[in-house]
């Protein structure tokens, strides 16, 4: 049993909140919900919509058509989405909105009688939709109270909306009601960072990385850490390196444009070996692109960020469960190996809400600081693993030094070729150990067991998994570590494939290039989407 609900209206009419409440109420009733959010880059007016996909089975994508119910806060929603509705679908809307197959809700009257704010129309309408789908009021009520800070008026308004319509397309009951998580990719990064022990999050606002800045800022006091917004991304990156050098577990976050500005500082990370975690949330690009929409065009930028050669980690989670777990891994690897860990995500993953059964982190990050600083401490001691024991300034008597120049073990500048070789070798010696570690972190996952293979990475996972349910003879190979690239695990996963198709949300197939570079394998068949919209199962199925 699956249903799809579209909720639309102008910016400022509470579309996203309504979708969150309704989605969460369905999760409470034991359903799996995927909540897609679509909004243009403006603050008031325009057209925002959310699509809720609700199912008794796990679901992690939506379609842009096939709606069972359209909740329309304005007429534009009807005009834009009427053509996408199922034949027997209904529109739930206030009296003023004209639509066919409409169930009118007298929101204006209810608002007037309750003396409620106009924005509460959103609650009245979703409550009517809730009734139409035959859902019991109590779970919605509980969710409204949770999400709207115990607003009793909202509950009364919802009750009135609930009474306005008759039950129609009954959703039925889920096989099992149990506690599940309803969480976006952004929330999962934020919680992952907190779980990892973050001390400082430093950022400059840029969609779609901004929600992480907001979530972390909102809970900084509760978890005793700090969130700082500095003058620009260059300051963010450099200050973050300073902070991490001085002992704080530090993460920065931005989107493509901001990360490009940080490039030089990432290179400084590489030379100075000061641990750092960077969250990169892609939008459609190049340049300002389509800023509130999605894309996967920055993969090679992430892999190649900064000038010169230095080891780094790039991890690409595919859903909020993975985002949480991979964020912990990013911290763990960055601090253990004194490298840059980049968590690469995108608008689709960052701003969609997913239903998650549970989390199972594989690592426990820590500061990885030496217990005692020896008198003759060497900041860049050459060791077998290439990892020099990490101390922080003020810890022992010996100076702790970090530098952007090539250097000797004490961190003094050296321009002789001999030191350039020694230190490059030291830095790259880490890669072997990071690779071994990554191998134990399920860098490549396979779903299903057909002979034909879909290869992809990141947020496309949701649509691909849902497409897979309707496919015979296909399996899906998801690459989660891009750097260091798990070549062996990848080749094992695609072994014996009679057909391989690459699926990416970009113009040229960037993972395909990386696979070719790292394994020599060239994937000819590609399904690429670059209209700034995410994949849906149908989009993939039609093109296979």
């Amino acid at each position: 049993m699956e249903r799809q609900i579209l909720i639309g209206g102008e910016a400022g009419q509470g579309v996203a909140k309504a979708a969150t409440i309704m989605g969460k109420a369905f999760v409470r009733e034991g359903f799996y919900v995927f909540n897609y959010r679509d909004y243009p880059s403006l603050i008031k007016g325009g057209h925002n919509f959310n699509v809720l996909r609700i199912s008794a089975e796990p679901v992690s994508s939506h379609e842009f058509d096939g709606h069972d119910v359209v909740v329309a806060l304005d007429e534009k929603t009807v005009r834009k989405h009427a053509g996408e509705m199922k034949k027997d679908a209904v529109v739930l809307a206030p009296n003023r909105v004209n639509a066919d197959s409409k169930l009118s809700v007298d929101t204006e009257n209810i608002i007037r009688e309750l003396n409620a704010p106009k924005i509460m129309e959103n609650i009245i309408l979703i409550s009517a939709a809730w009734k139409y789908l035959g859902m019991p009021f109590e779970s919605l009520e509980k969710t409204i109270l949770e999400e709207l800070k115990n607003n009793r008026t909202a509950v009364t308004a919802a009750k009135r909306g609930y009474e306005e319509v008759e039950t129609g397309k009954v959703m039925g009951t889920a096989p099992e009601k149990r506690a599940r998580y309803f969480i976006t990719g952004s929330q999962a990064v934020a919680m992952g960072a907190i779980a990892a022990g973050i001390d400082l999050y430093i950022a400059y606002p840029m969609t779609p990385a901004t929600p992480v800045l907001h979530y972390l800022a909102a809970v900084q006091t509760e978890y005793d850490f700090q969130v700082l917004q500095l003058e620009n991304e260059i300051a963010v990156a450099n200050a973050a390196l300073g902070a991490s050098y001085a002992g704080a577990m530090t993460m920065i976050g931005t989107s493509g444009g901001g990360f490009a500005l940080m490039g030089e500082a990432m290179s400084l990370q590489g030379m100075s070996e000061v641990p750092l975690v960077a969250y990169l949330a892609m939008r459609n690009a190049p340049s300002t692109g389509v800023p509130t929409y999605t894309g996967q065009g920055d993969l090679k930028m992430a892999v190649n960020i900064g000038h010169g050669e230095y080891p780094k980690v790039v991890v690409a989670p595919g859903d909020p469960k993975e985002v949480f777990e991979r964020t912990l891994e990013a911290f763990y690897l960055a601090y253990k190996y004194r490298v840059l860990s980049i968590i690469i995500s995108d608008k689709h993953l960052a701003e969609s809400t997913y239903t998650v059964d549970g989390f199972s982190p594989r690592v426990e990050p820590e500061r990885f600081i030496v217990e005692d600083v020896p008198e003759d401490y060497k900041s860049y001691e050459i060791t077998e693993t290439g990892v020099s024991p990490r101390a922080v300034p003020g810890q022992g008597d010996a100076p702790v030094r970090a530098t952007s120049y090539e250097h000797d073990e004490y961190g003094y500048t050296r321009e002789e070729g001999e030191w350039a070789i020694k230190m490059n070798d030291k830095r790259f010696r880490k890669v072997r150990y990071i690779k071994e570690e990554v191998a134990s972190l399920e860098p490549v996952n396979t779903y299903g067991n057909g002979d034909k293979v879909i290869v992809s990475w990141g947020s496309t996972k949701g649509a691909i998994l849902d497409a897979l349910k309707q496919l015979d003879g296909w399996r899906f190979v998801q690459v989660s570590y891009i750097e260091p690239f798990p070549a062996e695990q990848f080749l094992d996963a695609v072994e014996g494939a009679e057909r391989i198709v690459l699926v990416e949300n970009n113009v040229t197939g960037l993972l395909g290039d990386i696979i070719a570079e790292k394994t020599g394998m060239i994937i000819e068949e590609k399904i690429l989407r670059y209209d700034a919209r995410p994949f849906t199962p149908k989009y993939i199925l039609r093109r296979l």
Partner: protein, 296 residues
């Protein structure tokens, strides 16, 4: 433990040109740190320097204390970050006029505005020296360098007024050959709570030799009864010389401006106020964080 300033020497060979104004800065900095340690202001292990890229920034290699040698223009941003992570550290950022006022001016202005509790030392030779002599933001009009053979005509920037207006709470100018004075001002700047900056006039004997020009025109603010707590007087004094090398100039040095009342940036943050992060044991369980999003 007493520290002698020679204890701060490093084995690195100094590569500044003979006669370079940077030597005076190096001596004064080592002297100031040794004094502050000996006077019980802080332990040696609590001093940290950050450096830009440029001739002056080579100071990183010549002082044996904690240090982070950063990127061109970014020494101040690095320093701000260090102080946020551990407010107990005494952080000094070194950079040239090119790094601080050209490449990285945003960081300088904002660090002053934040009133971040760091000290910035500007090796102001009014030229990009390490890249062999191009004009910077403080170069005088009419300067003919390799990149400006026709001569520059842009008005120089006045870092003193800029810093006072940006919100810095300790603003001074010194002359690199007056080591004793520079040392005292450095000590006061480091002790100051809030953003302090010293614009050190540092002749570059190879590309911008202003040694004689300055010697003849410099006078000390305290000799003329300047009150550094008077903001308007400070701005007025700051405007006396605009960095053009005009022959009639009188050039004030010393402390222009002090404001002891403004809260330092790091004091505003409840978690940072508690002291160094690295000493804290985090006992967050991942189950407790993610629980925020559970639906029951």
């Amino acid at each position: 433990m007493r520290v002698n300033q020679n204890d701060l020497n490093t084995p690195v060979e100094n590569t500044w040109c003979p006669g370079c104004g940077n030597f005076g800065i190096l001596t004064a900095v080592k002297g100031a740190i040794a004094d502050l340690v000996n006077e019980g202001f802080a332990e040696l292990k609590d001093f940290v320097l950050t450096a830009d890229i440029g001739c002056g920034s080579k100071i990183y290699d010549y002082i044996k204390i904690n240090g982070y040698y950063g990127l061109h223009g970014r020494a101040v941003a690095l320093a701000v970050g260090i102080k946020l992570a551990n407010p107990e550290l005494k952080v000094i950022a070194f950079g040239g006029d090119g790094g601080l006022l050209n490449e990285g001016i945003a960081h300088l202005v904002h660090a002053a505005r934040y009133n971040s509790d760091i000290t910035t030392v500007m090796h102001n030779n009014q030229v990009f020296a390490l890249t062999t002599g191009q004009a910077t933001a403080t170069t005088e009009r009419g300067f003919r360098g390799k990149s400006t053979p026709l001569g520059t005509f842009e008005e120089p920037l006045n870092p003193i007024t800029l810093m006072i207006e940006s919100g810095a709470t300790f603003v001074a100018r010194e002359f690199s050959y007056d080591v004793a004075h520079l040392k005292e001002t450095l000590k006061a700047a480091i002790k100051h709570k809030g953003f302090s900056i010293i614009d050190v006039l540092q002749p570059c004997v190879s590309f911008h030799d202003t040694t004689e020009y300055f010697r003849k025109r410099i006078y000390r603010l305290e000799d003329e009864g300047h009150d550094p707590y008077d903001r308007e007087a400070a701005l007025k004094k700051a405007r006396e010389w605009g960095y053009d090398l005009d022959p009639d100039a009188r050039i004030p040095v010393g402390v222009f401006y002090i404001n002891d009342e403004k809260m330092a940036y790091e004091e505003g943050w409840p978690s940072i106020r508690k002291g160094p992060f690295w000493k804290r044991k985090r006992e967050r369980r991942w189950e407790d964080t993610i629980r925020k999003y559970v639906v029951v």
